[in-house]
Amino acid sequence: MSILVDKKTRVVVQGITGKEGSFHTRGMLDYGTKVVAGVTPGKGGTKHLGVPVFNSLEEAVAETGANTSAVFVPPPFAADAVCEAAEAGIRLIACITEGIPLKDMLLTVREVTRRGARMIGPNCPGLISPGKAKVGIMPGPIHRPGKVGVVSRSGTLTYEVVHQLSERKIGQSTCIGIGGDPIIGTSFVDCLWMFEEDGGTEAIVMIGEIGGSAEEEAAAFIKKHVSKPVFAFVAGRTAPPGKRMGHAGAIIAQGVGGWPEKRAALEAAGVEVVENPARIGDAVAARLKPKRKPAAQKKTVKKGKKKR
């Protein structure tokens, strides 16, 4: 099993005729994802990469039954695209676009919630359930179907971790890049909740970063509600305070969000915090591999925690 995307996922690509949209639509099709529609206002009625293009999401959903969208439209129009998808009945919107103004996202997260939809991102690689569907820009071949859920604020760092897992023959149920912006649609907590409930996920790897309080919130949630083993890596241990490290989210501000605080919070929640980024795969393998025999399987569930 998996969360959020699977074989039933029917993707509409917003901004399909743009450079990024084209490139990654091909990538998704190559992976076997059902890309059923594209939207570019003004180009309705044409086909692009064999996919029918519509002027509006409303038409795309009505004609193709799309239920998931991948947003590649440029920053000035991205918030609009996300809200259009939510209004048209799309339930899962992966917003890949980077560089969307903060103020636009304040509106967007509310509008998406009001419409009962979920946004992943923005400024994220998207999500993939290996062997089932890829909705985003991650390199497909490094993934491997399996039972570890991966959730991350980062892009290439996620690939690094997935690569380590797959090399050790540890497959993934679903890998989600939630994005590094200050305002995002789906949090660590949201994903942890879904992984905890997912029968196809046995363990969770969480890739955090310094800055903000998302990891601390995740830790609080794990402590109360997650029974499955969680492994974490937090990037930015050596980043100097107050300096911007690429991601808008990766700033240590106002005395919260530093590496030591995040590690402490996660460890207090029973999370195995891996310090050496080259050994994340090893850490997971060490805990999961010996317990793969049916008789010992139950022990992967930690004791003393409430399961929701």
Partner: protein, 388 residues
């Protein structure tokens, strides 16, 4: 993007927020005449994009026009090192000469966006004049927060709460509501991510006057803020970081001796972390982004080589969108262009990694190529320490 105090105050003034009368100048002789116009006693303030100017000698009171000119002369052209400015400090090209305001009390007031609630938030404190971090460290309870209702403003009860907790008298309490409404409008219209008034003076006659102003405009929104973009001023910025911005990479200088070229911010930080873990130190954070062509890689290498302490360059690329073969070709070209003369340790993995390695290995240039993150990083550390 940060803008200077005097620029921020211009925007505040336009939005109806009281600021001291004054003028920004770049010549000491102008200081005298402006001080005269302002009635004699003035403040002379260095205009640099870093906090902590006061303690660093960047703010001087002058009781006469003559003393104002002297103060301006001292400050202009000097290099100002504050705790926020980094090693070499900023050269002061401009000073703001302002009237002195009769201050009864100094408050702290700021608007920012809280990521946890996804709401604009007003932060205030009766302990003005100190940095917010300093206030937070001394007495976290001294920091007041009010969340702004999305799409609306502060409710009157929130103003009443703030005024009561700031212990404002009747007059300034009344003025606070209007001030906050204007500040919030300014914050929204200019796509700020921080708008800080510190100190906000309560004057002896009960007015609220913004004595200082720090305005950060969100970079993602600069495309729709032409007035702000026109203010872009790299005079005060680190020239290396400015060049990085120009070629489209994210670069931050650090104190170590291992240059880093990485794709992705998270992986770039992680690369610094593993170097540290293995006993080395990065000379920089550098994220080349998702589409690194030869020119950009060359630019990145050149940037790194401006730092004389760099002993080795560690290249850590996870090919996703950026294919390893394309990166390898770009790297070869970039090394030629940049004339890089330090050892290069390359870890190149992901999409088309075999082809990428073949390209590197078959070139006449010498690279240490290693697939494994830890052993590659260890190699770089060893070279930097003179152990390889």
């Amino acid at each position: 993007m940060k803008i200077h105090e005097y620029q921020a105050k211009e925007f505040l003034g336009e939005n109806g927020i009281a600021v001291p009368k004054g003028q920004a100048i770049s010549s000491a002789t102008d200081a005298r005449s402006i001080a005269r116009d302002l009635g004699g006693a003035v403040v002379v303030k260095a205009q640099v994009l870093a906090g902590g100017r006061g303690k660093a000698g960047g703010i001087k009171l002058a009781s006469t026009p003559k003393k104002a000119a002297e103060a301006a002369r001292t400050i202009l052209g000097s290099r100002l090192s504050t705790y926020q400015s980094g090693g070499t400090g900023y050269e002061v090209a401009t000073v703001l000469v302002e009237e002195q305001v009769p201050i009864a009390r100094e408050l702290y007031l700021a608007v920012t966006t809280d990521r946890a609630t996804a709401c604009e938030t007003v932060i205030a404190s009766a302990a003005g004049g100190m940095d917010i971090e300093e206030i937070a460290a001394k007495d976290p309870k001294a920091i007041l927060r009010e969340t702004v209702m999305p799409g609306a403003g502060l409710w009157p009860y929130q103003i009443r709460k703030l005024a009561a907790n700031l212990k404002l008298e009747r007059e300034p309490a009344r003025a606070l509501g209007a001030l906050l409404a204007r500040l919030l409008a300014c914050y929204r219209e200019l796509d700020c991510d921080l708008l800080e008034i510190n100190p906000l003076a309560v004057t002896t006659d009960g007015r609220l006057v913004a004595l200082d102003a720090k305005m950060n405009i969100e970079d993602n929104a600069l495309y729709r803020q032409p007035r702000i973009r026109d203010l872009a001023d790299d005079a005060g910025e680190d020239p290396v970081e400015a060049e990085a911005a120009r070629i489209g990479v994210s670069y931050v200088g650090m104190d170590g001796n291992i240059g880093c070229v990485v794709n992705g911010a998270g992986l770039a930080m992680t690369t610094m972390d593993i170097l540290h873990l293995l006993g080395g130190e990065a000379a920089n954070f550098l994220d080349v982004g998702g589409s690194a062509d030869a020119e950009r890689i060359a630019g990145a290498l050149k940037l790194i080589l401006t730092d004389p302490s760099v002993k080795v360059i560690f290249i850590n690329i996870f090919g996703g969108i950026l294919r390893c073969d394309i990166f390898a070709r770009g790297l070869l070209e970039a090394v030629r262009q940049s004339g890089a003369n330090v050892p290069l340790v390359v870890r190149l993995i992901g999409t088309n990694q075999e082809e990428g390695k073949r390209i590197l290995n078959s070139s006449r240039l010498s690279f240490t190529v290693d697939d494994d993150l830890e052993s590659a990083a260890a190699r770089a550390v060893a070279i930097a320490g003179g152990n390889a």
